[in-house]
Structures are given as structure tokens and as C-alpha cells.
């Protein structure tokens, strides 16, 4: 047991994933045309390559998202223990959320949530 099972699992996993792909590659008919090579096969035609510089505005959104996303990690231990710690814990988490909310409010006032 132990590592043998782990190796078996690894082999099974690789076999399962690659087996399906191999099977479809072997059985399915393949057709080649220009539309197939586009990033989106249907919808409006794409312009330019995908190697473009992204607008720096995306980074700003990503930064704000990152902060609020990660701070949520503190909610999980609280959620596990909320019944035991009772009303005090509730007040504390409300204070915590209020601090986060002030940050969001500040970002909003600075126009960070507006697209360009």
C-alpha cells in the first residue's frame, strides 16, 4: 500500500485522460479549414493576433479583486467556529467586514471601479 497505490492512481489517471483523447483522434473524422484555426470558431471574426498587450486597467481590477478575494480566507475559520464563539465573534467579523468595506468605498470614490 501507500506509494504503490499512488503510482497506480497516477498511471490510471494519465491513461484515462490520454485514452479518451487518443480514441477521439483515431475515430473522429477530421476536417481542416481556415475557420477552424481561429480562437473562437463561431461569432464575430477576430482581428489581430492574441499576443497583444493588455490594458493596464485589467491589472487594477485584478489587484482590487485579489485583496478582497484573499481576505475572505479569514471567514472560513470563523464560519467553522461561529456557533461556539457566539455573538462576540459575530461582532468581530462585522468589524472586519466594515474595514474591508471602507477600503472598497475608498477605491470606489477614487474611480478605480470605473472602466478608464
Amino acid at each position: 500500500m501507500g506509494s504503490a497505490a499512488l503510482i497506480l492512481l497516477l498511471i490510471c489517471g494519465v491513461a484515462f485522460a490520454s485514452g479518451g483523447m487518443l480514441l477521439s483522434w483515431g475515430i473522429a473524422k477530421s476536417s481542416k479549414n481556415k475557420v477552424k484555426d481561429e480562437p473562437y470558431e463561431c461569432g464575430i471574426p477576430t482581428t489581430g493576433t492574441s499576443w497583444i498587450q493588455f490594458n493596464v486597467g485589467y491589472y487594477l481590477f485584478a489587484l482590487i479583486f485579489l485583496i478582497f478575494d484573499v481576505e475572505l480566507v479569514f471567514m472560513y475559520p470563523w464560519a467553522v467556529a461561529v456557533k461556539k464563539i457566539g455573538i462576540g465573534g459575530l461582532i468581530e467579523i462585522i468589524v472586519f467586514m466594515f474595514i474591508l468595506f471602507m477600503g472598497l468605498l475608498y477605491a470606489w470614490r477614487k474611480g478605480a471601479l470605473k472602466w478608464m
Partner: protein
Amino acid sequence: MNFDAFILMKSEMSLTLIIFFLLILKVWDGIKDNTALLHVVNFLLLINLITGFFGNTDGSLFSGMFHTNNTIYLEKNILKLGMFIISLQSFDWLKNHKHLLEFYILMLCTLLGMDFMISSNNFLMFFLGLELSSIPLAALANFDLEKRKSSESALKMILSSAFASAIMLFGISILYGVTGTLDFTEMAPLLTTSQLSILAFLFVFAGFAFKLSSVPFHLWTADVYEGAPVSVTSYLSVISKGSIVFIFITILFQLFKSYDTIWVNVLNISLLLSITIGNLFAMRQENIKRFLAFSSIAQMGYILLALTNGTQTGESAAIFFLLVYTFSNLGAFGVVALLSAETGKETISDMKGFYVNNKFASWVMAICLFSLAGIPPTAGFFAKMFLVTAGAEKGNYTVISIAVLNMVVSLYYYLRIIKAIFIDKPDTPLAKLNGSMMMKISFVICISGAIIMGFASNLFEYINTITGK
């Protein structure tokens, strides 16, 4: 509800309230007048400083994570005093700045982090305080958003400070693995002289040496000091350094007490290098902020000299020195802030003939530099003397004599600035700089501190009695 928390954490609570008040002011955006805002903030900081002197009780909170006693209250008051002086000095710079409230919010956040760090008795609390005090500082260093130097210094600061705290964290994780606890008092008796825990100690020490900018971890200091705005530089060199020294004393003297033979050696090497290299590089600087950066590296070396003592004498000498250092260094930085805010110039040759039209500011600079150099009538002399005598108690006279020789060398470069101000005659001397009332008040506080502290011998005795408990 238990109200102990509100009494023991009153310094942190009042800071948090001020931060929220300023944040709400910012979000509300009602007051457009910068001067009025600055007066409000300075008034709040003054109240914050005064409350620090009353109702101080010892105690600990959060199952020993946070503890406080009279020494810690004194240390917090020194930091608050420095914050107040810096706030007065940045008046001229901030009165036309559009991000004024952000400056104070970030700066008070770092002060809050330092308060938590000093009070910590647990590595988790310590780490949180350390990061809270160092991350916003990088943002503050970038405060002149459109200046190239400012963003360069901020980048250097955030990258190297993140690296240093990562290395320190690795050390902390090993210490946790060795002892199974994060609490300082529980951890201290469990530390053995196994090689793993000594390695961990060295990692933690390296992190601290970085934050103290003692050689060989000093390379970020000069660049960050030069590029950052003057107020931020003075904050970095006095308050940030001071808070790290305070917690460093606790960690060395309490947590790593059993390793004292090891850290005395490490400290000796680091302090000799700091004093020598700081002095040698300070001689050839043209930019005053860069010059003060190297001089502060050398001063850190003298503080480490007192710490080699390893007892309460060293601790009280270091605290007294930092109190005097706050006054004298902030006075010197205040003159630079005045010069920079009015003319934008920051080099030593720009100060030539400064005395002709700015008599008061010249004397402030002279007294503060004398105090930094340790020339007798000023407080700096007594503070340095206490540091050196504390270091000498251990009997390592080679180290002491090299340190004292370096003190003589340091006179050269401090006098170089004084010569530029008083003796050199340029073609067109600087015009009179009209500093605001706030700036003048800060100058009065600084020079009176730098002179009176030398004669108030009860103060050192007071520090000595409270650290003895």
C-alpha cells in the same frame, strides 16, 4: 464584554480611530482646504501623544500574544512624539499636495503596525505588525508619483523588504518546528543549541539586520532615502528604525537569551562593519539625504554596541539614545525638508552660505548635527557615552576602541556640512526660506530636546528603573 482590551490597547485604539476618521473624511470629500485639514490632523496627533502619558497599566491580552508595560508605553510615546514632529515638518510640503489624507492614513497605519509589533509577545503578532509597518512604507516612498527617483526607491524598498521578511519567516518556521510554539515566553526555555535552531536564529537575525540596515544588509538604505520624499525619509530613519530596535531588544534579550555568546559575536562583526562603512561612505556623499542615510547606518552600529551588553543597562542606553536621536535627526531632516519644499534642492553645495539669510534654521542644523556627532554640551554626547559605557561593561575593548576612533572620524563629515552652512561664501546665497509656523514649532521642539535631554539626568534614571522591572 471585557473592557481590559480597550484600556491596554488604548494607544492602538486611538490610532485606529484616527485612521478611520481620516478615511471617512477622505471618502466624504467635504473639506477642500488643505491647511484646515492639516491643522485637524496635527491636533489629533497631539491628543494622541498626550493620551499616551496617562492611565498606563501593565497587562497582557489574547492569551499572551499582546503584552504591555511601562517600558513599552515609553517606547510607544517616543514613536508618537516623532510622528508628531514629522507631521509638523511636512506641513509645507503637504499644504499643496492633493493626496494629503492618504499620506496620513498610510503613515498612521505603519505606526499602528509598529505599536502592535512592540507589544507583541508572539511571532504571529510580531509578523503582522512588522508587515503592517513595512508594506505601506513602500507605498509612501512612492509618494511623489511622477518623480523617477521616488518610484525607483519604492521598488527597491518593496522588493528587498519582501525578500528580507520572507527569509525571516523561514527562520520563524524552523523555530516553530523545533519548539512547537510561537509564544516568546514559552519558546525561550525550549531553545537548545542544536544546529537547526542556530540556523533559524541566523535567518531571523538577517531579517532584523536588514530592517535595521546594519552592514552587510544596508545596500537598500541609501537609495531609498535619497529617492523618497523628505518626510518619508525622516520617518524611515527615525521611527521605523526605532521600532525595530525596540522589538529587537525584546527578542534578543528574552527569546534568544540562551544564545547570548552567539549573538554577541554576530553583533560585534555587524556593528564594526556598520560603523566603519557608514562613516566611510558618508564622507563622500553630496546629497544630504544620502549623507544622513549613511550617518544613520553608523548610528545603528552604536546602538548595536550597547546591545552587546545583553542586560538592562544596554536596553536603557539604547532607549535613551533613540529618544535623543529622534530629536536631533528629525531636526536635521526638518531643515532639509524646509530647503526641499521651498527650493527643491537637496545637496550639500546648495547649502553654501545658508547662514546669510537663514540664521535660525542654520543654528538648528548645527545643534542637531553636533548632537548626532556627540559633541559635549548637546544630549547626543551623553547618549553616545551611555551606549559606549554599556558596551564596555562586557570588556571587549578592541571593539570599543574601534567604535570610539570612528566617532572622531565622523566629526569630519558632520563638520563639513557646518562649514558649508557657516563659512563657505557662494556668489548668490540662498534667499530667505519662509517656513510655516508649524515648521518653526518643530524646530523649537527639536533643539530644546537635543539640548535639555543632556541635562535631565533624571530621565535616564527613570528609563533605567522602568526597564529594570
